[in-house]
């Protein structure tokens, strides 16, 4: 005669029973009924279980929505045994941090490529093998080059259904510790801001190359410095900041994209690279670096293996004091960025009496203007922020003593000037003279000629307004 199988009976851990009664229906024997007593710990009324006649079918356990309410005998035994043993999330140690490594790059010939392509190549050199994006002029050629090159390098190119999906794919991929990037342009960047806020909150790296175009709204595809404000002050909701790099040449598109990945992982934060329509399309000489980067494996990544199982990527902290502590930590991180990442190019600033402030392509027109002004004996200099956030105020302050005029040249309605003014204000400094400007918008960049004219035409400290 075969031995009779004795199935263990379920165990009710009444503290964790919410008394929903789903198990009552599930029991064919009718051995479960509504309870009558309020449990002192939960304040709820657990069900009453009469296991005497129970045949251990387990259907009641399958009907209990609580993981640790009505449980199998074996689970109950395990829980009892470990009652006093704390285990969070499980006894594993944090994963080991595998740092990124550098490998020598054989000398190649200089490339003649456009800005977007230079940025794409910079991303590949920085070890990026994951690209998600949505086509938008004038950034698309960067994505197209990634689509062409990534498959041959074992990488992933995915055209997302929208910018919203794009940034969330980046959130997942970056959260897995992979260097990930996108190309976009102003309207698309607007759509990504929510996701960028989540990335900052969850401390996920990722690189956004925004080839800015004219706005507001659909605007046009001409170059404008339309998103300085968004990138510096408006990265979605909440307490957000990111390093904002402002290249001015195709070479810097490559170099700064590589730098962007490095900073993104150093700070576990997105990095924004702001180009403009002209810089994205502009072809120029690009020399490759001596080394490329093989990405590491961050200890914090959620990468789907045993070593990283304990990790969590999330921006939600329900307890207010936890959220506040997190924000204080972010502020401390922003302070480190502000301290360590200010970058600027100074051109003929050493004795400059007319200090021109400009970034991205307009800075090149401004540089031309400075040379032309010098040719006619005006001591002009260009101060070019290479990071707009943090604004490179440290290298600006020593120049202000000599400057008799400060002229901000930009392709926006004053977004760069606002950054300058905020940086001065935070530093408790002032230019000592009125800040003047040359501004164009709508897809028009200030030309070298009009900058020269504006500066030569007005020698006083009154406002200079372009025609």
């Amino acid at each position: 005669m075969a031995p009779v199988e004795v199935r263990p009976k379920p165990v009710l851990r009444s503290k964790y029973c919410k008394g929903c009664g789903r198990c009552i229906d599930a029991c064919a024997q009718g051995l479960i009924e509504r309870g009558t007593d309020i449990h002192p710990a939960s304040g709820l009324v657990p069900i009453a279980l009469h296991p005497e006649a129970c045949n251990g079918c387990g259907l009641c356990v399958d009907a209990c929505p609580e993981p640790y309410g009505l449980v199998s005998a074996s689970l109950a035994a395990e829980l009892d045994a470990s009652e006093d043993r704390r285990r969070f999330p499980h006894p594993r140690l944090p994963a080991e941090e595998v740092p990124a490594a550098r490998a020598a790059l054989p000398e190649g010939r200089p490339l003649v490529v456009k800005g977007t392509h230079a940025a794409a190549i910079g991303a590949l050199l920085a070890g990026c093998r994951h690209f998600f994006g949505y086509p938008i002029t004038p950034s698309t050629e960067g994505a197209e080059l990634m689509a062409k090159l990534l498959p041959s390098l074992g990488g992933v190119f995915l055209q997302a259904p929208s910018e919203v999906a794009t940034v969330n794919m980046m959130y997942g991929c970056g959260g897995a510790g992979r260097p990930v990037m996108t190309f976009t342009s102003s309207p698309g960047f607007s759509l990504m801001l929510e996701g960028i806020s989540y990335m900052i909150g969850a401390e996920v790296p990722g690189v956004f190359v925004d080839v800015m175009r004219a706005g507001p709204g659909l605007g046009n595809i001409g170059p404008e410095q339309a998103d300085l404000k968004l990138a510096c002050r408006g990265l979605g909701h909440g307490n957000t900041h990111a390093v904002v790099l402002a290249p001015a040449t195709p070479q810097e598109m490559l170099d700064f994209t590589m730098l962007a990945f490095e900073l993104s992982f150093r700070y576990r934060n997105p990095v924004v690279l702001l180009a403009d329509g002209h810089l994205g399309e502009m072809t120029g000489k690009v020399t490759l670096p001596a080394e490329l980067v093989r990405p590491g494996e961050p200890a914090w990544a959620v990468s789907g293996d045993a070593a990283h199982r304990r990790n969590l990527i999330a921006s939600i902290l329900l307890k207010e004091t936890d959220q506040e502590a997190h924000n204080l930590g972010l502020l401390e991180k922003y302070a480190r960025m502000a301290e360590g990442e200010q970058r600027a190019e100074l051109f003929r600033c050493e004795d400059a009496e007319v200090l021109v402030v400009a970034c991205t392509t307009p800075a090149r027109m401004a540089k031309g203007a400075v040379r032309a002004l010098r040719d006619v004996g005006i001591a002009a200099g260009l101060f070019r922020p290479q990071t707009v956030w943090p604004f490179p105020i440290r290298s600006l302050l020593p120049l202000l003593g000599r400057a008799r005029r400060v002229v901000v040249v930009e392709a926006s309605g004053g977004q760069l000037e606002d950054e300058l003014r905020l940086a001065l204000s935070h530093a408790g400094a002032s230019t000592g003279v009125e800040i003047q400007h040359v501004r164009r918008m709508g897809g028009v960049l200030p030309s070298q000629g009009e900058i020269v004219e504006a500066i030569r035409g007005k020698r006083s400290s009154r406002k200079v307004v372009a025609a």
Partner: protein
């Protein structure tokens, strides 16, 4: 222990009962879906490989409970986040867990495209016909006549009708498996657990995208007891959301996933930096030509080759060790329309890359010549296609205008496209910008892989030079203005 954390430390730091109790209301279906998912993970032996994506909604705290890799996503975006994870680590087993507001309303784009993409991820879609976390509002799956806080008199047609997501997704080509299950009795719960396990297994086996829609109870916002809510799902939801397998394709393998390659040589090869340097022919930057940096504008209609010619000039200068920029500018048309190029050359560094007053204008048609002709700098050079521009405008006396029948010469050569190379030859003859060999080398470099076109382009360049003879740099013409 199970796939659940033994203590829910993330649940308010496991204070008191929260150490082992979920945040769900009594009788909520989420706990059951969690449980069947946890069991499937356990039975398939993939706990270490699993990444659960928590949505926004009541199940936002899935990561409190499941002892797997966890990522919490923005509202509706869980499938996009899941794809990011899957592409980052193809060996991971990624589960997107979503409610009805999340998946069927705000996240419709993400779920439809993820499903159609078909990449092996698993979606658990919990449909309880109402918004839970925000407090009982109308959901995209709310039944007709159902009262919610935003349909206080019951849902009517002005609020749209319930979306049947399982059916919508099942008709796509991408998914391999779609089923709708329920939780209202023991039989349904067995089926639900089985479906969830199958959906996960299809991913573990690298087959494809699967989705299980779970009809679930929200007693709180239905204002019913848990047992009444079970009955409500059975009697009211089932007629609108019929249970069963909606798609079960014979699963073939999704395919192999690529492994990232970081080999320096492979990268150099891919970006085209492997080729040997192009020889130099130039003894120095042509400073004398226009008194410093040189600005050129090339203008025509789309297809005239203005951009290609502009690129050749920039490339030629860079090959010689100088700096150059090229900025294209197009009309809104994808084909045809206007096409202008600004090229700036400098010995060491181009400053302002735009060319509002070009030293050299190459115009391929009359509108381009009219638009930019008068902007040419004093002492500048204009090359235009005299095949199409019959009556050039009057230029400044110091500007030298050279009409060359670019189109006709190109037609004679049997390759209409090379009219831009003809123009380049004419430009070279007129200015002597660089040695001829500089341009010819740049042409050969640009035509790598299209060697058949090299001969005709070289010939076009020479024909352009010959056609412009008599107005070149060698006749001392520049002497009077420099």
């Amino acid at each position: 222990m199970s796939t659940f954390y033994e203590r829910f430390e993330r649940h308010d730091h496991a204070a008191g009962l929260k150490a082992q109790s979920t945040h769900y209301c009594p009788g909520c279906g989420h706990g059951l879906a969690h449980k069947y998912l946890a069991r499937a993970i356990e039975e398939l032996g993939v706990q270490d490989r699993t990444i659960a994506i928590s949505p926004v909604g009541c199940s936002v705290f899935l990561y409190y409970y499941l002892d797997v890799g966890n990522t919490q996503a923005a509202h509706g975006r869980a499938p996009a986040v899941a794809l990011g994870h899957k592409f980052a680590n193809p060996d991971s087993v990624v589960v997107s867990y979503q409610g009805d507001g999340d998946l069927a309303s705000i996240g419709l784009t993400e779920i439809m495209h993820a499903a159609q993409l078909g990449v092996p991820i698993t979606v658990i879609f919990v449909n309880n016909a109402v918004y839970g976390m925000t407090g009982g509002q109308l959901a995209p799956t709310t039944l007709m006549g159902q009262k919610t806080t935003t349909s206080p008199l019951g849902r009517d047609r002005t609020m749209g009708q319930p979306l049947r997501m399982a059916e919508l997704i099942a008709q796509l080509d991408g998914p391999v498996y779609v089923e709708r299950v329920a939780l209202f009795d023991a039989k349904q719960r067995v089926r639900a657990a089985k479906a969830i396990k199958k959906a996960l297994r299809l991913q573990v086996e690298n087959k494809g995208f699967s989705l299980v829609e779970v009809l679930s109870e929200c007693p709180t916002h239905l204002h019913l007891t848990p047992l009444e809510a079970q009955r409500w799902v059975k009697e009211s939801m089932l007629p609108v959301f019929p249970l069963g397998v909606k798609k079960d394709a014979t699963p073939t393998d999704w395919g192999t996933w690529q492994k990232a390659d970081f080999d320096p040589d492979a990268l150099l090869e891919a970006v085209g930096a492997r080729a040997p340097p192009v020889p130099r022919f130039c003894s120095g930057f042509p400073h004398g030509l226009f008194g410093g940096d040189i600005g050129l504008k090339l203008a025509g209609a789309g297809g005239d080759g203005a951009q290609t010619a502009a690129m050749l000039i920039a490339r030629a200068a860079i090959n010689e060790g100088f700096d150059a920029t090229h900025i294209p500018s197009y009309g809104p048309e994808s084909r045809g329309g206007t096409s202008y190029a600004d090229v700036r050359l400098a010995q060491d560094e181009v400053f302002s890359p735009d060319v509002p007053t070009p030293h050299v204008l190459v115009a391929f048609n009359a509108p381009s010549l009219a638009k930019f002709g008068l902007a040419v700098a004093p002492g500048g050079v204009v090359v235009y296609d005299s095949s199409v521009v019959r009556e050039p405008p009057a230029f400044d006396a110091s500007v030298r205008a050279i009409g060359v029948p670019c189109s006709e010469i190109a037609a004679e050569l049997g390759e209409r496209k090379v009219k831009n190379t003809v123009a380049l030859g004419a430009l070279q003859c007129a200015t002597g910008l660089f040695p001829d060999e500089t341009f010819l080398a740049a042409i050969r470099q640009a035509l790598q892989g299209k060697s058949k076109l090299v001969a005709v382009n070289e010939e076009a360049f020479r024909r352009g030079m010959r056609a412009a003879e008599g107005c070149g740099a060698d006749d001392g013409w520049f002497g009077w203005w420099i």
